[in-house]
Symmetry: C2
Subunit: 395 residues, 2 copies
């Protein structure tokens, strides 16, 4: 009797999490090295309940649809993993003849991946455990970027381009667009790419900088003297200099606190303090589920990461994560490598200083150069509104 | 010296307002009947300021880009039109040798269109004034539907499909998606089309029905007994049985009052009354600016409406609006006709009773049949998650 393989998803889905699943399943099928390819139904919790989905039974057509389906076809979870759970996992691995475990997820999931690897080594069990990076927020360390981010960046850049075209047509004084990424501003920052098509945001506020209401109001006022409609992109995780979120908590669980919308908060601030019309937009989860704006580069790299992790496990690697090293921005070139999972576990990667402008309300050319290739194809061409004469509009 | 033509946009942009502009400009160019094709810069106000854009100077390439550019390349406005303005408009029409006026807009703009037509007739001036329907909200009377709606409907249906795939992967108890259309529920209702791909919303609340908080909470509770993650689509204009909006006003001008977000309000209601995790999403303006989800049927009809209005003006028609009559749902067939603008002016068209389900939390098969062809191509195929076993999740 041969060995089996199990794939486990952790954390929030991305537009290409299923693409990594596709890459892993295809590689596992092609290898001929496993009897069964299992998906843990709804993450580690599903694994602990021995609730498996038979991925080997997916038809080629179904596998193809994975590339264009957001979410995750095997579910995922955010459940905490306890010390006892690792003991239980090793027992189940033995019981189900599992020789290979692939974890696809973010920092928390890579932590689980590393701890399971260690537990298995301690028990002297010959089981290979590999990580597939997955995050829209791009906060996984060591790798240049992670699958999931390029599509979230493409969604944000393209949506802000469309929003700016709309706002320029019918100036609403201030429109605030909220972007995901509570502690890392990568998605927020990617909105700046819209500017390369002539429709960029006017101000960008990242969680890497303390948010100052007075500075914000001053930034907005200064711009409104020059143009009648401005677009602001703000991270959902903005906080003040003491680290307190600028919005109030709305829901608390034992594990986490959830906060109100930064977009409507900032819009109301403009209304209250300046008396200008303002509104907030918050696409929220749509930004990680958009197939229309899926980045083809991101999708291909997600497939690659899934395949790499699977093949590395078959080659005897364990306790590592598929990662990318940037070789060149233009032409875009990356080199895949295996990162030691110890270096990845629970480190949160935020934007470096050289990617953020001095005023703390925008990004640098260095960031644009780094981010541009990740969104895949160029943003759509639009007609230039530059031939329009200047707009005058009273308060 | 020949006559000139002017095109004026009114009200909020759509994903295909520029497509109607394209249709009108192409028809005007092809006719050889006008010396100049003007665009009023920023709506009627631009016209009153004699601020014109020379649309005849747009290259073929630029005109082509109009089809893929949201917003409006000549701007628009929501400024009120006063009685004196009509007198002034007739003077400027004479001064600038304008023989043809095309208004592209919604109910308010069609009102302006009809009043200008009457003012010109009273003065015995031989000027043709025609209307091009434009609204994402689909609230223009007489016509089966209006350009702009199909794309807004496609955006909403596709976004809800993606959102539902995400929520099914990682159940958040309740996600509330806010849809545009303050008084008319057409866009909100169109989200139901996502259900035909297996990823439809669980509850839909339209502004055509009084919103009852207790019923809403009961609906949500009932569903949460059966499944762990539900998606609710709610109109931005929900109001109680007395007609009061369910959210508080956040900004007032002389002309209008702006309200808070229905999405976060309902999410907070679920949190407060049921203790379940809930969140709101509000793509807002993105829903009328999306080229990615532009409906090809809508775009073609927008071009047609622009062309029709222009050609009808050249043929001597005035005081009318381009309109569509539905001949058949399947195969989809419409018949263009000219509607008397008197019948259109300021009537607000809401959803008929036979399109809304009895419980007031969903739509009927009749609505789906009517709406389906308007979004153009079918929604994308996604892998079915049905093979997943049932999910259990505690409160």
């Amino acid at each position: 009797m041969g060995k089996n393989l199990v794939i486990i998803h952790g954390g929030g889905p991305t537009a290409v999490l299923n693409a990594s699943l596709y890459g892993a399943v295809k590689a596992a099928k092609a290898s001929g090295q496993v009897d069964h390819i299992y998906g843990a139904n709804n993450g580690t919790g599903g694994f602990l309940k021995e609730d498996f989905i038979d991925l080997g039974a997916f038809s080629e057509e179904e596998l193809g649809l994975l590339l264009a389906t957001p979410g995750t076809a095997i579910g995922t979870s955010r459940d905490p993993i306890w010390q006892d759970d690792y003991e239980q996992m090793t027992k189940l691995i033995e019981k189900h003849h599992i020789g290979y475990v692939l974890f696809s997820g973010g920092n928390g999931t890579m932590d689980t991946c590393g701890k399971l690897h260690k537990a298995l080594v301690q028990k002297g069990m010959d089981v290979k455990v590999m990580g597939i990076p997955k995050t829209t927020d791009n906060d996984i360390a060591i790798t240049d970027h992670s699958p999931g981010f390029g599509s979230a960046a493409r969604y944000m850049a393209a949506s802000v381009q469309e929003l700016c075209a709309d706002v320029r047509s019918l100036p609403i004084h201030v429109v605030v667009m909220e972007a995901s990424g509570r502690n890392a501003g990568w998605i927020t920052a990617s909105s700046a790419l819209a500017g390369e098509k002539g429709y960029g945001p006017d101000l960008i506020y990242l969680p890497e900088r303390a948010f100052d209401e007075d500075c914000f109001i001053r930034d907005v006022e200064t711009l409104l003297r020059k143009k009648s409609g401005i677009v602001v992109v703000a991270s959902e995780g903005l906080h003040d200099k003491d680290g307190n979120p600028i919005v109030k908590p709305v829901f608390k669980t034992e594990r986490a606190t959830y906060f109100g919308d930064v977009s409507s908060h900032l819009a109301n601030l403009v209304i209250d303090r300046l008396g200008y019309k303002a509104r907030g937009e918050k696409p929220g989860l749509l930004g990680r589920a958009s197939i229309a704006w899926q980045s083809p580069v991101d999708r291909d790299e997600a497939v690659l990461a899934g395949r790499m992790a699977c093949e590395a496990a078959f080659e005897g690697e364990s306790g590592k994560m598929a990662a990318f090293r940037r070789i060149s921005d233009e032409p875009y070139k990356i080199e895949p490598f295996l990162a030691d999972i110890d270096q990845v576990m629970m480190f949160e990667r935020t934007m470096p200083d050289n990617f953020i402008n001095e005023a703390g309300n925008g990004v640098t050319e260095e960031f644009l150069r780094w981010c541009r290739p990740l969104i895949g194809e160029a943003l759509p061409d639009m007609i230039s509104f530059n031939r329009l004469s200047g707009r005058k509009e009273g308060k």
